[in-house]
């Protein structure tokens, strides 16, 4: 019973201390989820109409040729919703993370709380875990809504094996939130003032987001896409790079290939370089998600160590 009571008390304290930030994150998460689900419902209706139709007309043409529904009525909202879902875990983690320690230091309550706690590490765990748990629970809703949206947008492809909408749905949202939350808490503990910490943490979180995007092609080996493959069979693959091969099948430098293509102009010959696309096949989606999650957990572990170090060494005032 005692651990349960301790957990309940910690959750209530976390809610009470960070109510404003948690409500803001909740509003953003619910708003984006409702937007994603309403767009998904509109797309599902189009798919149902298209499957019942005997003559293929727009927007059903995209369904048969590209495996994707295009709806001009919801296109802009969908773009905005997807961008919002991509940014949400980073923004939510920064807003919640910086306040965890920085507010206690800035308002001077750490002066009292740290000496009273059995250890600063334990105090930190009591502050960070409830907020991380509540935040993760809130983010589960848009994570599932993002999955529903992608399932509706690409009705012919299993979202569990589709790189479209990578990072706007599923478990990655929660894992990214966790890693950035620790980063933001570390920045808050280090700077000790909320607004400056918010600015610095936002810049670092943006850097982490860009870094994660850059790392993705290296998380799994990309394979050559056969030239003969139809577009619809490539949907959901993660494009990685374009390379060029000469007439003898040897790889060429991009610059050499471009020069040959440019000088040939409108008179291409048989010795022109062949353009070859490399991509991670869509079936590898779960593996890539798992590997990125492991990388983020490792980064989070390192940041947690740094956070504990900062908390244990810094002066509370």
């Amino acid at each position: 019973m005692r651990p349960m009571r301790t957990a309940r008390t910690a959750l209530l304290l976390g809610w009470r201390l960070h109510r404003a930030e948690l409500v803001a994150v909740m509003i953003a998460a619910l708003g984006l989820s409702i937007a994603a689900l309403s767009i998904a419902a509109a797309l599902d209706q189009i798919t149902a109409d298209c499957r019942a139709a005997t003559v293929v007309v727009a927007p059903c043409g995209g369904l048969t040729e590209m495996g994707q529904i295009y709806d001009s009525a919801t296109n802009t909202q969908m773009y905005l919703a997807m961008q919002g879902l991509a940014v949400l875990p980073f923004a939510a983690a920064v807003v919640l993370g910086v306040a965890l320690v920085a507010r206690e230091i800035e308002q001077g309550t750490a002066l009292l709380a740290w000496p009273l706690a059995r250890s600063r590490g334990r105090w930190l765990a009591g502050r960070i875990l409830p907020v991380a748990l509540i935040g993760a629970l809130i983010l589960l809703v848009p994570a599932m809504a993002g999955d529903v949206l992608i399932r509706s947008l690409y009705p012919g492809v299993d979202p569990g094996g589709n790189f479209e909408g990578y990072g706007i749905r599923g478990a990655l949202l929660v894992v990214r939130f966790g890693a950035v939350l620790i980063l933001a808490a570390l920045v808050g503990a280090w700077i000790g003032r909320q607004l400056p910490a918010l600015l610095v943490a936002a810049v670092l979180a943006a850097g982490l987001g860009i870094g994660v995007q850059q790392v993705r092609p290296y998380l799994f080996e990309a394979v050559e896409q056969p030239q003969s493959i139809r577009f619809i069979d490539r949907v959901g693959n993660s494009y990685v790079a374009t390379r060029y091969r000469d007439a003898d099948g040897r790889w060429m430098r991009e610059e050499d290939a471009w020069e040959l293509l440019a000088t040939a102009g409108d008179r291409p010959g048989p010795d022109m370089p062949e353009e070859v696309f490399f991509a991670i096949p869509r079936e590898r989606y779960p593996d890539v998600v798992l590997r990125e999650s492991l990388v983020l957990v490792a980064v989070g572990g390192l940041l947690s160590g740094a956070l504990v170090l900062v908390i244990s060494r810094r002066r509370p005032g």
Partner: protein, 305 residues
């Protein structure tokens, strides 16, 4: 009091302005070299896609991307500057409980507010002004704007709109910080209000733009705001025909975009209307800033420290 934010944000704004000016200089230099190369190259054969002076393509592409990236930065800069410098002016004093002493020692709370807010609002405006001026130089250096006098290109990333938006958001942040005297919640609420205000302004501006559209031949739409509708003009009579009617009567128009005796028309707001829209938005922002400053003054005067 706000040394960290001031140094970081004003410094970042000035770095952005310098980067924009450097990119603009580089764009002009590369473009001059490219034009010299094109002038010296043999004349192009009609219908050929043979490359001429292609060695500049890589540099041009890189500079185009840098132009767009810094343009996006200039679009965001006034919101970040205003929000993060405006919110803590009052909120931090109340949250840190220094307001109780400061307000008691000051001759009047209004004078205290002016002394605290004015230097920061001036700094926000000056930083916005430098970004706006650099944006203007960058926009004019872009090769696609050569010979264009007035254009909607880079709307919001250049000229007086940048400092006007920064000042208005700063005043709004100041008011929100006075009403909600905790920095982080105030920044979140202020951010939400700024987003709501920006969406509302965009909707209203879009309606005004729709009302101000004029039919122009597609070739004459450079510098115009986005295309609101399209149609076809009969060259002989000057009559405007809807696209559906034109496609039904001239199927070749759908494939080639051309038909004898017809000209494709776009309904756009011409670039010459740019100044009207800029000054109209600036006036709205100035009104909003005055209201926000009045609210902040009122709250500071009546609230308990």
């Amino acid at each position: 009091m706000q040394r960290f934010e001031l140094r970081l944000l004003i410094g970042a704004a000035l770095v952005l302005a310098v980067a924009m000016l450097a990119i603009a200089g580089q764009v002009r230099a590369v473009r001059a070299d490219e034009l010299a190369c094109l002038a010296a190259a043999p004349p192009a054969v009609e219908g050929s896609t043979d490359g001429r002076c292609l060695e500049f393509l890589g540099a041009r592409d890189l500079l185009d991307r840098a132009t767009l990236a810094t343009g996006a930065g200039a679009l965001l800069a006034p919101f970040v500057l205003g929000l993060f410098l405006g919110v803590p002016i009052v909120a931090r004093e109340v949250e840190h409980r220094t307001a109780a002493i400061a307000w008691t020692l000051s001759a009047s709370r209004r004078r205290w507010l002016v002394g605290r807010a004015a230097p920061i609002l001036v700094a926000i405006t000056v930083a916005g002004l430098s970004v706006g001026m650099a944006g203007e130089v960058l926009m004019r250096s872009a090769p696609w704007n050569e010979g264009v006098d007035a254009s909607f290109d880079f709307y919001g990333s250049r000229g007086p709109l940048v400092p006007a938006r920064a000042l208005a958001v700063g005043a709004l942040g100041l008011a929100v910080g006075a009403v909600v005297p905790r920095q982080l919640p105030a920044a979140l609420i202020g951010g939400g209000m700024v987003i709501a205000f920006a969406i509302g302004l965009a909707v209203v501006t879009d309606e005004w733009m729709r009302d101000a559209t004029v039919p122009l031949p597609m070739a004459a739409t450079q510098g115009a705001a986005r295309i609101y509708d399209m149609g076809v003009q009969d060259d002989a009579t000057g009559e405007l025909i809807s696209l559906d009617e034109a496609y039904a009567e001239h199927p070749e128009l759908m494939e080639t975009g051309e038909a004898p005796g017809l000209t494709m028309i776009a309904f756009v707001v011409p670039g010459t209307a740019y100044n009207t829209f800029v000054w109209r938005e600036t006036a709205i922002l100035a009104g909003g800033a005055v209201l926000a400053l009045a609210l902040a003054t009122l709250v500071v005067r009546v609230r308990r420290p």
